[in-house]
């Protein structure tokens, strides 16, 4: 892996949830301009790490650094202009339309008394076009299907127009077509627009296919990180997931593809 710059990093963080320690002395550096995917079994701490990196959770020890400063010292809105997070569970306010919900992502760019500006409308329009929901603009979000609703949330984070984008399992609820669509969209954001992405994914093969930087976690520690082609081996899969598998090359992309052995 070439030495790239990094705006976002965690240094020796200890993370805890309800008096239960999830990770201790964890250090991770998020390379700029890369499509980073975090994988690992359930309860390994992936979501917790993502939340710590995005300032939602405060580490019990250690620091999260953004642009050389401790992230908790920076003003909240400033951080929100650089870093966008899509958490796993969000609550849809009753009666809100798609355009309104996407528009809420513009909050970090708006001043206390500022109203709606042209750039806000443009950002919303671009975000909705990218996620193919522009035809749904005036529909109430509650009436949409699970997949459509997820795309609305993603559009909201896109409208925030942040150079760094963190997404916690964004492909749940999506059927396979929309999953691939989303991953392609994320790749485009990364390669064409240069945005740094950190995505927690469940689907191992999708992670290998789209990530340019992979972080494998288990029980609050990083087992391996690097390019998928470099670090994915049968031994690693067994170490991280306890699963026996065979690694072959994906016939389309050439990236590693994990085929479980089964009984």
């Amino acid at each position: 892996m070439s030495l790239s710059s990094s705006r976002l990093a965690a240094r020796d963080v200890t993370l805890a949830y309800d008096n239960k320690t999830v990770a201790e002395q964890l250090s991770v550096t998020i390379p700029d301009g890369e499509f980073t995917v975090i994988i690992g079994p359930n309860a390994c701490g992936k979501s917790t790490l993502l939340k710590a990196l995005s300032r939602v959770i405060k580490p019990v020890a250690g620091q999260v650094i953004l642009d050389g400063q401790a992230i908790h010292q920076l003003p909240a809105k400033e951080v929100a202009r650089q870093l966008g997070l899509l958490p796993q569970n969000s609550h849809t306010p009753a009666g809100i339309t798609v355009a309104d919900l996407v528009g809420r992502g513009r909050y970090p760019h708006q001043s206390l008394f500022g109203g709606w500006r042209l750039e806000d409308s443009q950002a919303v329009a671009e975000a909705m076009a990218a996620t193919h929901i522009d035809h749904l603009a005036d529909r109430p979000v509650e009436q949409l299907s699970g997949g459509q609703r997820q795309r609305v949330w993603i559009a909201m984070v896109l409208a925030q127009q942040t150079p760094l984008l963190l997404l916690d399992e964004p492909t749940t609820w999506l059927d396979i077509t929309h999953q691939i669509e989303l991953m392609e969209l994320l790749r485009e954001l990364n390669q064409r627009h240069g945005r740094t992405l950190v995505v927690v994914l469940h689907e191992l093969n999708q992670a290998c296919r789209y990530a340019s930087h992979l972080i494998a976690m288990r029980e609050g520690a990083i087992i391996a990180e690097g390019r998928p082609s470099e670090i994915i081996t049968a031994e690693l899969i067994e170490q991280v997931y306890g699963l026996k598998a065979v690694i072959i090359a994906d016939p389309i992309a050439g990236t590693p593809m994990i085929v479980p052995v089964g009984k």
Binding site: R55, L85, P87, H91, T92, G95, R104, G105
Partner: protein, 327 residues
């Protein structure tokens, strides 16, 4: 503001205005609009001017401001508790106010000023206690509700004990207070209510956008740059104030806080501009309730709380029946 909420806003504004005018004109001494105009601009017999300017006008103004304050308070609680049943009453703020009033009634009977002060202080104190008890590295809506229920039960048991231990006359005076009434409201009350409510509403206007965003979940709000705990504290403080002040002046008028936000949201069918409409709805509800309480059951003058509770309950029930039939 979107189109439909704007229309509703104008409609509500008109409604509030017309009820205000009819309330000013109607009564033991009926007036025409022309007479009213004369009196308000300083002409006309002094006796009539007393009736309108000293009695009716403050009463109408209190109804408008207190109704708006209660409506907004309810909207804030419903947003923070993420529950359509959220209201200051559910958390025990009204029970706390009543406890203060009961304590004062036992110690300094017939001291109206002390009662007002006690109600204000004890409602605020109740709010503070609930917040502190619910704090454990932050506040979650569920914890707030649970602690609120517990505190409310404690306070109601205290109230029950006092009510069954004192004389009947004291108990009845307390009972009358707790039903809520705009009788005896004068310009002093307006001077107390107006600045407090206006300042609090300004505060709410500043925090409104953040409140809306927090409804989507704490994590997302935090990621969008909102300091969630601080905002929540500010909102709860304002909501407590917006309940404590009206309760101190007119007694606990339940249900306006619960029902006004629900009506406003259903009328407009969209979350934009809801707070303005909620305020107007609250004013309208209280104005109409007071009007009915005064004029609809002659020769009896009912406490306004009785009307709001019955009307509010009927409205909710009809909503539910409609919902039940639809599902």
């Amino acid at each position: 503001m979107k189109k439909r909420p704007l229309i509703i806003f104008c409609f509500l504004l008109l409604a509030v205005g017309s009820v205000m005018l009819s309330a000013l004109c109607r009564g033991a001494i009926p007036l025409s609009l022309h007479d009213l105009w004369l009196l308000l601009t300083g002409n006309g017999p002094a006796g009539l001017r007393l009736v309108v300017v000293e009695w009716r006008l403050p009463r109408v103004l209190i109804a408008v401001f207190c109704g708006a304050a209660l409506g907004i308070s309810g909207a804030i609680f419903q947003s923070i508790l993420r529950n359509p049943l959220g209201s200051p009453d559910v958390l025990g703020l009204n029970a706390g106010a009543f406890s203060g009033v009961l304590a004062v009634m036992l110690l300094w009977p017939s001291n109206l000023f002390a009662m007002t002060l006690a109600s204000l202080v004890s409602a605020a104190l109740t709010g503070a206690i609930i917040y502190l008890l619910a704090w454990r590295q932050g506040i979650t809506p569920y914890r707030l509700i649970l602690i609120g229920i517990g505190i409310r039960a404690l306070l109601m048991s205290f109230n029950g004990w006092v009510m069954t231990s004192t004389s009947l006359s004291t108990a009845m005076s307390a009972g009358l207070w707790s039903a809520g009434s705009l009788n005896g409201v004068n310009w002093q009350s307006v001077n107390l209510v107006f600045p407090a409510v206006v300042i609090a509403l300004l505060g709410v206007a500043m925090l409104a956008k953040r409140m809306r965003l927090m409804e989507m979940g704490d994590d997302l709000a935090c990621a969008l740059g909102i300091r969630t705990e601080r905002t929540r504290l500010g909102l709860l403080f304002l909501a407590t104030l917006l309940t404590a002040v009206p309760t101190a002046v007119i007694g606990p008028v339940s249900f306006v806080a619960l029902v006004a936000p629900q009506i406003a949201r259903r009328l407009a069918n969209s979350p934009s501009g809801v707070l303005w409409n909620t305020a107007l709805c609250g004013s309208l509800l209280l104005l109409v309730a007071d009007y009915l309480a005064q004029h609809a059951f002659l020769p009896y003058q009912l406490p306004v709380g009785v009307i709001t509770v019955s009307v509010g309950g009927i409205y909710l029930l009809s909503l539910l029946v409609r919902e039940a039939r639809r599902s």
